[in-house]
Amino acid sequence: MLRLSNLSKYFGGVRAVDALELNVKTGEIFGLIGPNGSGKSTTVNLVCGIFGPTSGSIELDGVDLKRQAPHQRIDAGVSRTFQNIRLFDDLTVWQNLWVAWRDAPGQEHSWFSNWFGRSLSRRHEIQKLLEFSGLGDKSNNLAGNLAFGEQRRLELARAMASKPKLILLDEPAAGMSSAEVTDLRQRILTMKEMGITVLLIEHVMELVMNVSDRIGVLNFGTLIAEGLPEEIQNNPLVQKAYFGSSENTSGGDTNAIDQ
Amino acid sequence: MNIDHIDVIQALIDGILYGSTYALLGLGFTLIFGAMHKLNIAYAASSIAGAYVGLASISVMAIPPILVFFIGPLSAGAIGLVIYFACFRYMPTGNQLAPLMASIGALFFVDEIIIHETSGSPLSFPALLPDSYFFLGQFGIRGDLVMVMFFSFVLMGIVMFLLYRTKLGLATRATSQQSVAALLCGIPTHRTNATTFVLAGILGGFAGCLIAAAVGVLSPLITLPLTIKGLIVTVIGGLGSIRGAIIAGFLIGSFENIFLLVRGVNERDIYVFLLLFVFLVFRPNGLFGTAIDRD
């Protein structure tokens, strides 16, 4: 589904992502882990088009995304969440989804009613998505007034509103209680059942190891290991990257977009 | 009029020298913006107000005219503090628009007070170095503007020293980059910001006095044009960049003088604004600015 080849992104002299090769298969949950500053968020931003790559290619189902603007990549089927929640705080919960909404194929609204319709039929569908996200009774609340966990769920729902083929989750479990992580795990699995491919970037090992089909380990912008969760857990290279050389936190700038 | 290379060089010299007044103003704008990421539109007006207070005190009290350059900056610092409390201190942190709007109100207020007290009449301002015009070969040079230029470098040095070598500077920079984190680290952000405003105010008052001395006349007519000039200098120099503000001041001063010479006064400002526009589009971070889309 998603194929990154020889992908690089330099910030000045810092190689945030360096000749990265990554292949995410259709329908799988791919976990991407790595120490702070290893280039995980930059990778997400490259795939979403927030940054242009220094070199290399990004392909989705064989289509080159590199020349597409960020919003066109949504049309192509990629959507994302942010490491630090970025909701539209002064819009209501359901308006947050309305903004991101893409009609299912075959049920598209006309251009006019897409932009200027009040579209009650969509309201119904949006409500269904809200129910699924456990926000059914909050649809008229302002997003900014939700509790932390609810905001995380809303961001997830917003990412699903555009009917993506591939979702990039940027540390979705950050700051969650373990009960919430369990709930999140369930939701990610449900997404997979719905046929959505998931690229999960996460620090919370409990989640990554339990939910991922395959895991890649990023360090200094390159993939140092890739494999099944158990293989990764026992890989000495990974352990070294995580614990052995933690003083080497290169590229403070790479998370720029999420600071 | 025929223009030869001597005219051009002379216009460049005049422009760069006069540009040092813009540089001083830009320095204050950039200092406040660097510290708070907020725009104080009333800044140029309060700088000029400082010059007025200085002028008023030397004409009311029988004190030597040179004291205007001490009283002016101090009163502008005080005005800066008042503006900080009136327009910035109690505004919600995330709200950019409310303090901007309040500072627009402060601009009107300060301007109107000056106008009310002087009836808008131009007032003579003591020269910094009277009769200090000298010649360097064929070129005439204003001694007082050389002095202003010297001051702008000195002040740049002082500001850089304060920012990068003192505890106050550390606090300012920390507050500017992560105000919440700075607060958590025990840095009193409000007091830091207030100090920045007073510092910038003193700087502005000094700039206001130097500008008034350079023109020789003080009038409320100049506050808006100076506000715009200060903003242009800040932006071309790069937001928050101290040396950028200084260099941009010289750049704008010489640029406008060349176009005044070559294209006439009616078109002069069009070219200055076009330059600004080109800068914003092709180099949106200015000469020395860092990327601002971090947040």
């Binding site: 927030i50 603007a69 | 709200n95 901007l100 109100g105 009107f108 604004f273 949106p284």
Partner: protein, 305 residues
Amino acid sequence: MLYFLGIFQTIGVHTLLGLSAYVLLLTGQLSLGQVGFFAIGAYVSGILTVLFSWHIFAALAVGALVAGFFAFLIGFPALRVKGLMLVVATIAFSEIVRLFFFNLSWRVEVNGFDVGPDSTQGFREIRYFAANGWEQTHVVALIWSFVILVMFLLWWLDRVRAGAVLRAVGEDDLAAQSSGVNLTMVKVAAMTAGGVIAGIGGGLFAHSTTYVDHHTFTILLATFAVSYPILGGHKNVFGTLLAVIFIQGFVIEGLRFMGDYRNIVFGLLIILAMNLRPQGLVDGHFISDIKKKLGGKPKKDSADA
């Protein structure tokens, strides 16, 4: 009465100016360039009625379209800058427009009189209304039908998806982009709409004051334009109207009894208002209070700012 009709005209014209800045503010763009579009609308429609004896409606329409066209063009470079940079870029634009009209001299003889923009001397005698027998009530009706139309459209916009998209861009353009919003299209569209609204306002202004010159369209008026939606609050289109009534009706005309101190109070009131209501006069609480008073069910929690 005549006096109040005149004030209504001023309030109407300034409301259009404020609404043009309001549209941009929805997308998070703080523009001091609206006065440039306002000037374009004023000069173009004035030239059409005075020099070419066009009907006022046609002249207003063309003025608005020309202003909108320039806004469209400006929209693209403006995309590259944000925040303070955008403020300064739009100042540059409106000053360039002003200086263009400062240099514009286009004198034509119509009915034995030399008319038209005369650079510094200004553009005199844009007397379409008086010369065609329009009563002040007619002028007020014309101006306010545009105000009501624009306000209605903007009010309606907040009820359709386009409005939510505009506000989403205003809140967080990166998140909006990552939710599939075409930023270029949305921002340029908002800029264009703002230009058209300012253009109509400018045309009405020129005809209601009969005279424009480059001093009319300075940074001061640009500041007023953004002041209205900021002071009024951009939660709601009525905030802008309320702010215009507050500034033009109350502070400028209503405080005339304060004589010399009127303009000093002006600045103080703005500072005071922003400290008391940093979200604007018509903020979330204000709206929910009104809704409660009207007996309607306020949407639960939604109006809490």
